[in-house]
């Protein structure tokens, strides 16, 4: 299976992950600072900033776009419970 390196900038930790995994599935296990609420893309609590590899996450869904808008997300902000890793990228809490 294709692998990607997902890096959590706030704790300086990189993890080799299978491509397609959601950020939420990794961040809690390594103790990164992203905090979760509903875990289903509705509340916006888990907003994260993608500092590198923006294009290496899956495109946001219409629903995610809406929640990002409602939460005044910046240009490279995503929801960690929704974004799937498809290549190397670096994230931190928004």
């Amino acid at each position: 299976m294709a692998k990607a390196k997902l890096t959590f900038e706030d704790i300086g930790q990189s993890v080799n992950v299978p491509a397609g995994i959601r950020v939420i599935e990794v961040s809690e296990k390594v103790g990164a600072g992203i905090i979760y609420g509903c875990r289903e893309g509705d509340c916006g609590t888990c907003m994260m900033h993608v500092t590198e590899g923006w294009n290496n996450l899956t495109e946001p869904s219409v629903l995610e776009e809406k929640v990002l808008r409602e939460n005044m997300a910046g240009r490279h902000d995503r929801l960690a419970c929704q974004a799937q890793v498809i290549g190397d990228c670096t994230v931190k809490p928004a």
Partner: protein, 445 residues
Amino acid sequence: MSRTTAGSEGQPGTGTTPVAIADGVHWIGALDPSLRRFDLILRTANGTTYNAYAVRGSAGVAVVDTVKAEFADTFFARLEQVAGYDEIRVIVLNHLEPDHSGALPELMRRAPRAKLVISKRAPAMLKALLKADDQEIRYDTVDTGDAIDLGDRRLRFLHTPFLHWPDTQCTYLPEQQVLFSGDVFGCHHCDPRLFNDRVGDFRFAFEYYYAHIMRPFKAHVLDALKLIEPLPLKLIAPTHGPILRERPRRYVARYRELSGADMALEPVLADAKPLRTLLVFYLSAYGSTARMAEAIAAGAEGVPGIRVSLYDLDGGETEPFVDLIEAADAIALGSPTVNGDAVKPVWDLLSSLAVVSLRGKVGAAFGSYGWSGEAVPMIEDRLRGLKLRVPVPGLRLKLIPTDAELADCRDFGQALAQAVTGADGAAAEAGGGAQKPVIDFADLA
């Protein structure tokens, strides 16, 4: 006196009179002296207050926070004495929890020229709070550095998320050096004398509030203090409890103390190298799980860079153990299986950990059993549910451990310690720099 009894009449907070707290600033909140439990989790020995404030500027009035819905009448009665509804330009909600937003829909109806101002993380919550009410709410979102002009004075905003909800913020009035801090620096203490230099002793309430509301978010408290500490402060106006006008900085300093690592009685180690810490807790009816715990601790202790502590859960109160876990890097929990479950003190401990942050900690489970042995996987599931990493599969032994099985326990302790210290293979990659070795996702699962 700490309860509203004889003599309370004539105190500032009684009746429906607004109380001036600074030039052009009034308290317009409500007292709730009979409340005995707040949000299911906090005991409130003498009730609480819902503090709201009105700020008059030359270009209009701002209302900062409201009250719980059932106290709206008192809130409106006080507000009407300091401002007409048409004068209200701005309504600031520093925190959307219903005890502060309860009077908002009615206030928005009465004050048609007012715009609601909330933090950038609050809109989704606002919608969820008001979805049963068809009313359209006009709002702006603000971030640190944003300000609203009231003519001769401004309201400045500090984005202080997770104190104690994602939406929380503080509002600062630079001209009067007043900080409207939301739940930060608040406490459940109802006293009609209102001000910290007049009310009864509320130290316990202040500490208790921090311990249950702010403690799980210590890292966020420290971030917020970076914004708050540089501000000149004459008065802190929180949403619960006394208004802090006498030496307000003491409360800011206390938050910093409470949010730092408790180094007071940190053990002095012969080896000055920083250590990772593993706590091994166990319960044992006939000594088998206790012997496992001792062997696990011994195995872990052999790994360089870890300090191991061993505790019989039956021999202590839960709260000090929670304090220890907050400061530790890893915990191992041992329980026998009784009637298909771990024993109650284990669940009591695990259900008491909501007041501390467990992020990034490692967990493990072990135990001796008679015939079924469900306790270990059940504890592991719970540890994962609490977001601990469980890198070493749990260890179960049937009844009395043999020497060979105790050797397995030592191996288990060693593997656990290596996972905690990062000595489990990945360390070989270390070549300097602060970046930790890359770990593989399969090792996390």
